[in-house]
């Protein structure tokens, strides 16, 4: 359940943004979560609800933007969608694919009032 720590980090980032930007309530949080990252979105949603209680993000809707995995073959240079971090290159079969996208775990933006 590292989602608990990640949710707590997200609330910290949001509270820091609230001080910086001068808002008091968050209506919606959008997070980018890579398909290859070690995050289970529904576990993160559950953890976020409790981590956000009592903060300016309490009750905010949490929306995930899932970033598909994409890699480049370190052998032939082909790029392809990745379902796991160790998928072989579909073009040449060589390992490893260098991950280009899909490891994201970030707070993208907030709708605030």
């Amino acid at each position: 359940m590292h989602e608990l720590s990640l949710a707590a980090s997200a609330v910290e980032l949001i509270e820091a943004a609230a001080v910086r930007e001068g808002f008091s309530r968050v209506r919606r949080v959008r997070m980018e979560i890579g398909a290859l990252s070690c995050v289970e979105p529904e576990a993160l949603r559950f953890a976020f609800e409790s981590a956000a209680a009592g903060s300016c993000a309490a009750g905010a809707a949490l929306e995930f933007l899932v970033v598909a995995g994409e890699g480049r073959c370190s052998g032939c240079g082909a790029t392809a969608e990745l379902e796991t971090v160790y998928d072989p290159c579909p073009a040449c079969g060589a390992h490893p694919m260098q991950v280009l996208r899909g490891m994201e775990m970030r707070v993208k933006d907030l709708d605030v009032e």
Binding site: M1, H2, L4, S5, L6, S9, A10, E12, L13, I14, A17, R20, E21, F23, R27, M31, S37, C38, T84, V85, Y86, H95, P96, M105, R106, V107, K108, D109, L110, D111, V112, E113
Partner: protein, 264 residues
Amino acid sequence: MCTTCGCGGDGATLESHPHAHPYVPRKRSAVAVIPPAPDEVRRIEVEQDLLARNDAEAVANRKTLAQLGVFAINLVSSPGSGKTTLLVETLRRLAGEVPVAVIEGDQQTSRDADRIRAAGAPAIQVNTGKGCHLDARMVGQAMQRLPLQNGGLLLIENVGNLVCPAAFDLGEAHKVAILSVTEGEDKPLKYPDMFRAADLMLLNKCDLLPHLAFDADQAEAFARRVNPAIRIIRSSATHGSGMDEWIDWLRAGAAAARREAAAA
């Protein structure tokens, strides 16, 4: 950029604008120039990694360790892979030669730290409570309470868990994954993040291989499929096989850390 008047972005200023209002310089400029009405919704670009603070604290730990000339290792595995037994045997072999300090991570109890102290090394137990991994802040705080010595080792035994510790940089030089032969050969495929993050894998409890159906070659092949660069040592902390290679690897790391601190 000034959120009230818009000046200051990219070094631009507005002529004859005295800037009596306070503003915070910012990199991103997606904030409305006109302050919104109280109940108006506006969008704030954040674009910050959930691990940003952990990573910053890990960078600070790494810098401290580099200055001190300490070689730090983050040992990760499932519960029951033999980490603590391996550590105790490691301490025995390095006693009087390389100073070793240990951070023990567990959800509860100080049993592991007690075992390490009984083996003669300073140890701090971090109880993570409900947490499933050590984070960089916990390690930074524990480091302050340990006698870290130039040319020494800091061995961090993470919470037994092959999932969560993969994501949390502690400031270590290397993650070392321990897979015991009483587990499944396919653990590297089931938990690829951890085996991908590790630079070395110890295939431990190899003395039990004659009694098991475990295919050690297959386990190594799976680990290399996930991480082609991973170094693998077949070890038995209780019978001693592979321990010389492991200890030599630690010695070399500690010596390099000392050299680099002296050169800095």
